[in-house]
């Protein structure tokens, strides 16, 4: 279980909620409302106050890198640091990555291609394959199907459903309402961008509370 207790990020309402294993949450809100920052804060990639527990362990009890090995953030625009994707694969995960590639509709040969000539959509799926390869219990997916056509979107959604029945926790940011309805068990709705509305008040005291809506499981 992932429990978030009074998580404070500038210009985003204070958040408290718990996500049970095997559920998928979505975060919705207009551009600039802080969806990406919430995911990054949960992965402890940017400073925030409040507590986050994974199965009873608070993030500050373990080193940041250990936290992120379990709470995996996948950016909407993933970066690469090696000439080919294969060189970025963590130790002992090659087999898993190759398996995930074929499941996500990728030719495993792409792993050895120069990463700069791989298309944006393929790079995105490669990043997802890499992120899933060591089987982290929590996945924070930022626009996972942003650059994909309908067929590949379906493959990713199938993978998300598979993760859900394997008791993983998924937090999904997506602009695609229909996708959220297909996948999410619970929906977190953020209010419109407060910062842009009151440019003079950098830290508004009264932020509209986010609404959490429970969705019946399909």
């Amino acid at each position: 279980m992932l429990r978030i207790d009074k998580l404070k990020i500038p210009n985003v309402p204070t958040l408290s909620f718990s996500i049970a294993d095997g559920t998928c949450w979505s975060i919705e809100g207009p551009s600039g409302s802080g969806k990406t920052r919430i995911l990054r804060a949960i992965a402890d990639l940017e400073p925030s106050s409040g507590q986050i527990f994974l199965n009873g362990i608070e993030r500050n009890e373990i080193p940041g890198f250990d936290w992120r090995r379990q709470v995996r953030y996948v950016s909407a625009e993933p970066g690469w640091w090696t000439p080919t994707a294969r060189q970025a694969i963590p130790k002992n995960c090659t087999e898993a990555v190759e398996r995930l590639c074929s499941r996500l509709g990728l030719d495993p040969e792409l792993l050895d291609r120069d990463i700069d000539v791989v298309s944006t959509g393929e790079r995105h799926r490669l990043a997802l394959a890499l992120a899933l390869s060591d089987d982290p219990p929590v996945l924070l997916l930022d626009e996972p199907t942003g650059n994909l056509d309908a067929g590949n979107t379906a493959l990713i959604e199938e993978q998300i459903r598979y993760l859900r029945i394997s008791d993983r926790i998924i937090v999904l940011v997506s602009h695609d309402k229909a996708q959220i309805e297909r996948l999410a068990d619970q929906r977190l709705q953020l209010a419109p961008d407060v910062k842009k509305a009151n440019a003079d008040a950098p830290e508004p005291t009264t932020l509209p509370a986010p609404t959490i809506e429970k969705v019946g499981r399909p």
Binding site: A43, D44, L45, E46, P47, N60, P63, G64, F65, D66, R68, R69, R72, Y73, V74, S75, E77, P78, G79, W80, W81, A88, P90, A127, L130, A131, D134
Partner: protein
């Protein structure tokens, strides 16, 4: 074996050479006349002043003044490092890192060179301390400024890649390894190139000075080799300390990338 002493008239004659700069500026409308004038005056005044100060310090028996001037030199070098950055942490942090690195490296290499190799009598003889410290500082300062600037610039440029590595659970040192490596190279290259070119393309300034002042060329060369070793060692150590220091400032104890600590400095 005494050198020809230069008179003020000689120097005035030499100053006409600077007019070439002025002529170019005027001919191409570069508007550098003002800068040229100010910097020329600064150079003359600073050098005259340091000449007088050194002359006075050389006559003092107490090492207090030597230490004082050494401190001033290190402070100014630290400031120069901070001024050469395109992105800074707070002025205090950036200055502190540059100053701290130069203080440590300058102290260590100067003491080693003087205490273990040259061993003048007394060891704190300002004639040796201040000149050697000056040579070491001048070069280490360049390396330190380069490595710090390369670290902050590369990390800013490679933000996505660095964040992807951190998101995959790499500790900060592993995630920043490539940035650190590239930056260390950048910091070390000038001194490595200088070693290859010295003697063939350029006679190093210190050697030229010694020869002009009447020293035996072979003896001057021996000093120059010693100085090159000292400079190379000092630069390597300074570049490493400043590089690691910048790595720790760019990341935090949670192994996060903290580019928000940086402010870009507008260039003029």
């Amino acid at each position: 074996m005494n050198a020809v002493d230069l008179t003020l008239t000689d120097l005035a004659l030499a100053s006409t050479l600077i007019l070439i700069n002025g002529a170019i500026s005027l001919a191409f409308g570069l508007r550098l006349e003002r800068t040229l004038l100010i910097n020329t005056i600064r150079m003359v005044v600073q050098l005259a002043l340091i000449g007088l100060i050194l002359k006075w310090i050389f006559t003092q028996a107490s090492p207090v003044w030597t230490i004082g001037l050494a401190c001033v030199m290190i402070s100014v070098a630290g400031f120069e490092v901070a001024m050469r950055q395109e992105r800074r942490f707070s002025m205090l942090l950036t200055y502190g890192l540059g100053f701290g690195t130069l203080l440590f490296v300058g102290l260590l290499t100067t003491s080693f060179t003087l205490g273990a190799i040259i061993v003048p009598d007394p060891v704190y003889d300002p004639r040796y301390v201040l000149t050697i410290l000056g040579m070491i500082l001048g070069n280490t300062m360049t390396g330190v400024a380069l490595v710090m600037n390369a670290m902050t610039q590369t990390a800013s440029r490679e933000r996505r890649a660095l964040e992807a590595r951190l998101a995959m659970g790499q500790p900060r040192f592993e995630a920043m390894r490539d940035v650190l490596g590239q930056s260390l190279r950048t910091g070390l290259l000038p001194i490595l190139n200088a070693m290859a070119a010295s003697g063939v393309v350029a006679l190093p300034g210190m050697m030229t000075g010694q020869i002009l002042a009447g020293a035996d060329p072979v003896s001057a060369t021996k000093y120059q080799i010693l100085i090159m070793f000292a400079i190379a060692g000092a630069t390597a150590l300074g570049v490493l300390i400043a590089g690691l220091g910048t790595l720790y400032l760019l990341t935090d104890e949670r192994h996060r990338l903290r580019l928000d600590r940086l402010t870009a400095i507008k260039s003029n």
